[in-house]
Assembly symmetry: C2
DNA sequence: TTGTACGCGTTATCAG
DNA sequence: CTGATAACGCGTACAA
């Protein structure tokens, strides 16, 4: 099946003994083209499987109808779920989506940003890597008039940018309040890496829920970990090391980490294990398979976060919102009781 | 920050009072350009943040250095894991990757294929949707000389194409053999949707392991389900409905389904529950949190499947392998004991 | 060593 | 109703 000559407009035109412009117009259903001519052209195009070259169109139109997404990790369900929200809306408005993962590395993120810039995406949605402190690779986009929406992960506080974020404060507040209503007074908080700045918001939600409900706060009930299992165990050991302040409940910043914690407590046969009630962020589908599941989960609605991000981005692309009129959208969490 | 004039080669040339071609050559480090000129051009390009327009280059070079990936679902860890293998290798050879999900719908898959075709990807890696029977949308690629590698999911038997598949036969064989070695004689097989054709391979692996080890086969020990929990429960009820043929072990085609099965058996307090040993395909990371985990998992090495797919695709792109010299690569599974 | 001219595939303008 | 022509941004033979 030789294919020396790609099927282009010119090729069709030669076959049909017409001009390239007529062929183009016929295919695009211009009203000024004779019906019979249209038929001929369109049939020939179909038979020869003519496929318009998007690069040529992009070049001409000076836009690509492509949205770029950069996210840290496709193995994290939060992000894959968020994509669904983006995709659906983008498609609906005639945009395609390029998904790429930074693996939480700054260098990789920069590389991906450059590639998307060269591809002249019409907009970028990004959840920054945990290493990202410098934003030059992203400023470039705005410098070229390409809108960027930061989502899921909050960049440094004083950065002027468009953001769509989960309401971490409210999520942690809900969780803590729920546990208080279940008569817990010693509620521990297990936080995440401090450089991920939603850690603070969640902590504040926890603190405020305590305060608003008249439960006293105790630093012995707070510990931090990262995504490393051993560090989580250390943190848990810490939390449970004060006999006069033994936690009866636990709020954790992320579910898999919570699972590690539960597993550990169970493994050491913690005396009050069966009374301890836990809540984590995530609402992982696997919870239904656990024998000692968390009492509830903070559902972060990542699809909705993605949807809000793409909606905002499309408004920016269509200039319904000024590029430098920075928006901040918060998506509320929901408490799901198991 | 106005940006009326996009920074193009022409723009740079005017600024520098040189010709466009000189600028182009300088940026591409042509040996025929004076060192001093190069310096000037490159500095100016950097200062003005010149970013080459990929559409223009694609048009000129008649290729995009982009690989398209279509897969059914980003929520399935098998597929997201497989992407890692593809990405790494593609990047290394200067290719970028466009990931898109068909949501296991034929129409969506067709739509995505068309868009990738228009984008003139240099190659396509696809795990077909479960609805895909017709392959015209994929033939188009080969018709235009663009190689396609089918991976993870096996298209209909008599389709001539390049394939990279998990060795499902071997995986099921390993699992069954392992259970036999642990003295099981009544090993049930829980298969998946019949239209997903690896179901047959796995069943054959099961059968052959039985035969090779002198264990008799019994149809009462075989049932099929899909991804619906209720159907799984029905299948399990079926398997355990013959008192004279009660399974003591179970091989399941996919882990989440196996978890449903285990959960059900536990919920009804099946008398010999604690003796039953199970193995499923997947090796899900959450297994470590289960109280009654499968005794082992069939690790399908999706990263390796992805890696083999991209390697093959690159060979096809580089014409190291003829487009119509169809290849079939099998990636072995590994048994992981928990 | 640098510049000129052309073409990649498409669409839009304007003339016929 | 149809066709010639220019332009989008870039790379490269060929000319100077």
């Amino acid at each position: 099946m030789e294919n020396k000559t790609p099927v282009t407009l010119k090729f069709l035109a030669e076959k049909l003994k017409m001009s390239v412009s007529t062929v183009s117009k016929a295919l695009n259903n211009y009203p000024t083209i004779n019906e019979y001519t249209k038929k001929r052209v369109q049939e020939m195009a179909r038979d020869l499987r003519f496929t318009p070259n998007k690069s040529a169109i992009n070049l001409k139109e000076r836009k690509s109808r492509i949205i770029g997404i950069i996210l840290p990790n496709l193995l994290d369900q939060y992000f894959t779920r968020s994509i669904a929200g983006v995709e659906q809306f983008a498609m609906q408005f005639g945009y395609n989506v390029i998904i790429s993962q930074s693996h939480d590395e700054f260098e990789k993120e920069k590389q991906l940003a450059d590639m998307l810039l060269k591809s002249r995406v019409d907009g970028l949605i990004i959840a920054i890597s945990k290493e990202t402190q410098d934003f030059n690779h992203l400023y470039q986009f705005e410098h070229m008039g390409i809108p960027v929406v930061y989502y899921a992960r909050n960049p440094s506080f004083n950065l002027n940018c468009h953001k769509v974020l989960g309401n971490n404060f409210q999520g942690a507040y809900l969780a803590t309040q729920f546990l208080i209503q279940r008569k817990h007074q010693k509620i521990a908080y297990l936080g995440g890496p401090k450089m991920i700045n939603f850690t603070h918001d969640r902590f504040n939600g926890y603190i405020n829920a305590l305060k608003d409900n008249g439960v006293s706060f105790n630093t012995e009930l707070v510990a931090y970990t990262d995504f490393n299992k051993e560090n989580t165990i250390k943190a848990i050991q810490n939390l449970f090391s004060h006999p006069e302040n033994l936690p009866t409940a636990l709020v954790a910043f992320k579910e898999p980490i919570l699972f590690d914690a539960i597993k550990y407590l169970k493994s050491i046969n913690h005396p009050n294990f069966s009374q301890i009630e836990c809540i984590g962020f995530g609402n992982n589908a696997f919870i239904s398979y656990l024998d000692t599941p968390p009492v509830a989960s903070v559902e972060e609605n990542p699809e909705s976060v993605g949807e809000n991000a793409i909606k905002l981005l499309l408004q920016l692309i269509n200039k319904e919102i000024e590029l430098d009129h920075y928006q901040k959208i918060m998506v509320d969490c929901k408490l799901v009781v198991h």
